[in-house]
């Protein structure tokens, strides 16, 4: 992991609140693996105070891509960045997705909801290169929430799209689409990133299927390097439950190790 205060924006596409930044950051790009993240200082001012975690969406030579949705002050500033602007990046951080053992020929289902699709593009490319058959399920509330649809359609893996309001693709939850497909053709492994309700449903589905799954969790982070203990999630580890740091032990965890809070 490295700090590169001299990273440079080389591309910026946007769709309403969603943004795709391409950043030239050779040393970090060279070390990056799917599922890892970076901590970004969005400006050189003391406000906002903390870096923001961004999962790595893709790698193209010495460039990394980041896909995010504006949600607060930090991401709003990031959304104003233009090609030529500098950026201060710390990364790559965390433990990413693990490919299936004896990967070639295996069938992997990747399930992404909203901005949670971000790390799954990098993963899909990596798995594809390993000979894994990849099927991506990409869902959102409405068609505007799945702006990367054309990018996934252009890639050479299978895709399925779902919108809650039926404005594009399957009408309903992406987890429902997943369950239908998985019943017809059982995957060997499942990878997912999205909001908590999606994880809850999917955790039950993969348990029923008896298929291993890896989920990439998200949290507010103070430091990204394991020092502040601010980003914990309840995880089964070494035979017991504990608050485990998402930045250091994750962000990717085996779905069977993740403990979800009781519904209130």
């Amino acid at each position: 992991m490295k700090i590169d205060p001299g990273a440079r924006i080389v591309g910026h596409e946007s769709w309403h609140d969603y943004h795709l930044l391409s950043v030239a950051v050779p040393a970090v790009a060279a070390a990056a693996a799917p599922g890892q993240f970076v901590m970004v200082k969005v400006n050189d001012q003391p406000y906002p105070l903390l870096r923001r975690p961004l999962s790595i969406h893709g790698r193209n030579g010495d460039r990394l891509e980041f896909f995010f949705k504006t949600a607060g002050v930090g991401t709003a500033i990031l959304a104003t960045k233009q090609p030529g602007d500098g950026l201060d990046l710390l990364g790559p951080l965390g433990r990413g997705f693990r490919p299936p053992e004896r990967a070639a020929g295996k069938l992997a289902y990747l399930v992404g909801g909203g901005r949670g699709i971000a790390p799954l593009f990098f993963l899909a490319e990596d798995l594809h290169a390993r000979g894994v058959k990849v099927r991506v399920f990409y869902g959102g509330r409405t068609a505007a929430d799945i702006p990367l649809r054309p990018k996934f359609e252009r890639a050479c893996w299978e895709t399925g799209f779902a919108t809650d309001d039926g404005s594009f693709g399957f009408a309903g939850l992406v987890t429902t689409l997943f369950a239908q497909e998985a019943a017809a053709r059982r995957p060997d492994i499942v990878y997912a990133c999205g909001p908590d309700p999606m994880f809850h449903t999917l955790a039950g589905a993969v348990r029923t299927l008896g298929v291993p799954a890896q989920f990439s969790l998200e949290s507010i982070m103070g430091c990204g390097i394991g020092a502040c203990w601010g980003c914990v999630h309840r995880i089964r580890k070494d035979g017991r439950e504990a608050w485990v740091k998402i930045c250091e032990d994750g962000p990717v965890f085996a779905a069977s190790d993740i403990v979800w809070p009781e519904k209130t």
Binding site: P46, Y47, L49, L90, S219, I220, C228, G230, C231, W243
Partner: protein, 304 residues
């Protein structure tokens, strides 16, 4: 290069910059980013005798120029620290300081007794001021009597130098500092975080799992500075200034106010190299102003 050394009485530091407990992990997390031996010292994460669960998330919320945390002092406990962490720290040529926590006075004593004979511990920092482990921020540092009692007991239990870290959530900081001094603390560090909260108005729920947390960062610096000045001018033991230090200039304000050293905390999150950068800024300030010894500016606030 100016002479940046400072003297805490019980220990000379190569420079006045110490990293604050809870913002620097066990030190090892920062080794990829900076040379720990360039620091005046570092204070490891607060240690209870037993391993500690910590609070349910969310544990952090960023506010205007500040950070509220309610980690709840999650940590590995004395046994794991002694077996797995301290051996990797003790030979470092810098002041390794252990932040000591306790649910009651007995536990503070147990921690210092368990670690007091260990080689490579420069000092204990007695954390009697964490606002997010008990209801409504209760802690010994909220009253002079309870401060005196715990410092007295811990001091009697160990020969290792003792820094006592005070809370800003009080009406009379000087009275509490004096209580710690009377109980024979070797130094006083202040301030810990300010009891604070934030609310999500969409859900009308608190933004922290613990409801309350401790506010740190640039937002608290002017208040911390005022308290450090009040205390430093009224006690004889060395005072270590803590609160929102992000730059060399911030650190200098505390030194001029009377702090013999400073702790850098929240800045470490935004920039893992912050402490080393601040040391460089102190050196540059001395060079530019022709100050041969940084320690000469300690307590030099001009009032007339």
């Amino acid at each position: 290069m100016a002479d940046l050394t400072v003297d805490l009485g019980f220990r000379k530091l190569r420079n006045p910059v110490i990293t604050a407990s809870g913002t620097f992990g066990y030190g090892l997390e920062f080794q990829p980013f900076l040379d720990l031996e360039r620091l005046g010292g570092f204070i490891v994460k607060g240690l209870y005798f037993e391993p500690r669960e910590g609070n349910p998330p969310p544990r952090l919320v960023e506010t205007a120029s500040g950070l509220i945390n309610a980690i709840g002092l999650q940590g590995v406990g004395v046994r794991a620290f002694r077996a797995e962490v301290l051996p990797r720290l003790r030979d470092l040529d810098t002041a390794v300081i252990i932040n000591v926590c306790g649910d009651d006075d007995d536990e503070y004593v147990r921690v210092v007794e368990a670690l007091g004979d260990e080689r490579g511990v420069a000092a204990f920092e007695l954390n009697i001021s964490c606002p997010n482990v008990k209801r409504d921020g209760a802690c010994p540092a909220l009253a002079p009597e309870s401060t005196y009692a715990v410092v007295k007991r811990v001091k009697a239990a160990t020969a290792v130098p003792l820094m006592t870290k005070l809370s800003p959530n009080v009406t009379d900081i000087v009275g509490i500092a004096r209580a710690a001094e009377e109980a024979a603390t070797d130094a006083i560090s202040l301030v810990n975080t300010f009891l604070a909260m934030a609310i999500d108005v969409e859900t009308r729920r608190p933004k922290l799992g613990n409801i309350f947390g401790g506010l740190s960062g640039p937002a608290i610096k002017p208040i911390a500075l005022r308290m450090v000045y009040q205390v430093a001018s009224r006690v004889r033991v060395p005072v270590i200034g803590v609160g929102g230090i992000m730059t060399g200039m911030d650190a200098l304000e505390f030194l001029v106010a009377g702090a013999r050293a400073v702790e850098v905390g929240t800045a470490n999150f935004a920039d893992p190299t912050a402490a080393v950068r601040i040391i460089g800024e102190l050196d540059r300030f001395c060079e530019e102003k022709g100050i041969a010894r940084l320690a000469d500016i300690i307590g030099t606030l001009r009032l007339a």
